[in-house]
């Protein structure tokens, strides 16, 4: 029997790769449960342990839970980037990428499909973080529409981190290299305004680092919707930085993919 063959459309290719990516995540409980459970556990610890911080003059929220709800979104994005990057690195190391590149699959489809899995993780985890926050009494100052924008921003941030993870995987080609960036991500998170407002950080060097740290602005964008309402500059900075990261790392990933796939 001869199978009829015609090059599949780009959306069809993206759908196939993304479907595989999502299936792979769903079948690895550690990739699904840990990235959701760990940030929520940390949130619970912080919300009870650091609640006294709200008594500081000038602290922007009466509840540390409200203030800290933005943190899980960032940590979830880190895990999504790490897991997505490692999955791609495994494909490179195992030769599965060679298998895919022997089909008519385009490089764009591979990138988009791969990021489809990260997007799925971003959506699932963001919805869960928000639902848990609401269940424990967090009020969204920007209202219901603000909650939707919060989800959109969280997913955008998650996607930006995933683009970085994809770039590292394609550039380095090993899971260890992707794993190696994870501590750096965490340092970036801790040296941001995630746990304290920038103007209440006493150490000059810490405040300076947090001011130049883009993660601060991503956190503050999410947080503004929860504790302040509609803060256009904060939202613009958060969406803008995420968009720049997405465009930049997609371009770098695309170049790294061309180098990685030497096919003619």
């Amino acid at each position: 029997m001869t199978a009829a063959v015609a090059s599949p459309s780009l959306p069809a290719q993206v759908g196939l790769i993304a479907g595989r990516s999502v299936r792979r995540i769903v079948r690895q409980p550690a990739q699904l449960v840990f990235p959701i459970a760990f940030p929520l556990s940390l949130l619970a610890v912080n919300a009870s342990g650091l609640d006294a911080a709200t008594k500081l003059p000038g602290f922007p929220s009466a509840s540390y839970l409200d203030f800290a709800l933005a943190i899980p979104f960032m940590q979830g994005a880190l895990f999504a980037a790490l897991n997505g990057g490692q999955d791609l690195a495994r494909d490179i190391e195992s030769g599965f990428l060679d298998r895919l590149s022997l089909t008519p699959m385009s490089g764009a489809a591979l990138l988009a499909g791969q990021l489809g899995g990260a997007l799925f993780m971003g959506v699932v985890s963001a919805v869960i973080y928000l639902a848990v926050g609401l269940a424990f009494g967090v009020g969204i100052a920007a209202g219901a529409a603000g909650a939707l924008v919060l989800l959109a921003l969280a997913i955008t941030i998650s996607f930006a981190f995933a683009c970085f993870g994809t770039f590292v995987a394609l550039r380095a080609g090993t899971g260890e290299a992707v794993q190696g960036f994870f501590p750096l991500f965490f340092v970036l998170l801790f040296l941001s305004s995630a746990f304290f407002p920038r103007d209440l950080i006493e150490q000059d060097w810490f405040r300076t680092v947090a001011t130049y740290n883009p993660v601060s602005y991503m956190v503050e964008g999410v947080r503004s919707l929860v504790i302040a309402g509609w803060d256009a500059p904060a939202l613009l900075q958060a969406f803008g930085l995420s968009a720049v990261a997405i465009v930049g790392f997609l371009a770098l990933s695309s170049r790294a993919l061309r180098t990685r796939l030497q096919r003619t």
Binding site: P8, F96, R99, P104
Partner: protein, 342 residues
């Protein structure tokens, strides 16, 4: 040279070079031609350049110099057309451990553009053919090495390629799985007219399966032709004597000198002589050693093999192949899969 390339040939390679960083030439100016429907065995030790050649011919690596046409398309300029005509099973079987056999088939079928309505049928048909129907819904992480190889072969065949590249397809397989794979490869060439380019480090595999063999060493082809013809070039049997004491090698060589020309045995501590009069003088050889008072640990008569061809062309034995292939898994004639007469 290029002007003589014939488009009806399945694979046509002229002066192919692939150089890596540091100037290492994994493939160093090879010429080879494979006719449509032929099984071509590419034989060589580890690191000889077999897999690099396959990667260039399957468009995964661009050539540094030279030219290669596969299915009539230039691998450097028409990669997509080449890929549409070939099926490839690479040396390392790359499967997604989280996907089942059936899901692998559907993903690959979709990416090859096989219409949705045909994907299930085509996939199931091939899974059946390679004996994986019962395991089709199990994750590939639960498959044995032989099952993984069979799924790999089925994936390579999904889009009915005219040319099949198999890079060391039986490495690590047990005798049963190896024989089953040989049968399937022979059937593909015989019944479907598929051209097969098969790399191997196993002498027996090349001998049993290939219509023609190319022997590669250090990036260059050192011999090429039908196995029988190649062996005929070194046709006389050799006798190899291992003296009990290594110091006795010179005395052995002297005692054997009247029986034929000394050749390299490929290992230290033994002496090999290609017999002028074939195996008929074996008894005389034993008597000569006895008369010279040379105690020996072993005496063996070797019929010519592709290893002899390799030895004759390179001065070295094709290391590893004899050790990794189980000894005489089946009589050679019985193991040879049935092929249509040329």
């Amino acid at each position: 040279m290029l002007a003589t390339m014939q488009p009806e040939r399945a694979i046509d390679v002229a002066g192919l070079v692939r150089e890596f960083k540091g100037g290492v030439r994994a493939v160093d100016g090879i010429d080879l031609h494979v006719a449509a429907g032929e099984i071509y065995g590419f034989l060589g030790p580890n690191g000889a350049g077999k897999s690099t050649t396959v990667k260039v011919l399957t468009t995964l690596l661009p050539p540094t110099a030279g030219r290669a046409l596969v299915a009539g398309h230039d691998v450097a300029r028409a990669g997509a057309k080449v890929r549409a005509s070939i099926g490839v099973a690479l040396q390392d079987v790359a499967l997604d451990p989280m996907l089942t056999g059936r899901e692998h088939m559907r993903l690959q079928a979709g990416l090859h553009g096989i219409p949705r309505s045909q994907r299930a049928t085509r996939g199931d048909e091939l899974l059946e053919r390679v004996g994986l129907s019962d395991a089709a819904d199990r994750k590939s992480s639960t498959y044995s090495g032989g099952m993984r190889r069979r799924l790999d072969l089925a994936l390579a065949l999904l889009h009915s390629p005219r040319i099949l590249f198999l890079d060391e397809p039986t490495t690590g397989l047990d005798v049963q799985s190896r024989t089953a794979l040989w049968d399937e490869v022979a059937r593909l060439a015989r019944d479907e007219g598929t051209t097969v380019f098969l790399t191997t480090q196993y002498l027996e595999e090349a001998d049993v399966l290939a219509d023609r063999v190319g022997i590669i060493d250090r990036g260059t082809i050192v011999a090429e032709g039908p196995p029988a013809t190649l062996k005929a070039q070194v046709s006389r049997p050799t006798v190899e004597v291992v003296p009990r004491d290594v110091a006795g090698c010179a005395a052995v060589a002297e005692a054997l000198a009247p029986f034929g020309e000394k050749v390299s045995s490929g290992r230290a501590g033994s002496v090999a002589v290609r017999l002028d009069d074939g195996a008929d003088r074996l008894a005389d050889i034993v008597r000569a050693l006895d008369a010279a008072g040379i105690p020996f640990a072993n005496l063996a008569l070797h019929e010519p093999t592709l290893d002899d061809v390799f030895l004759a062309k390179t001065g070295r034995s094709l290391e590893g192949s004899a050790e990794e292939v189980p000894e005489d898994p089946a009589p050679r004639d019985a193991a040879r899969p049935e092929r249509a007469a040329a």
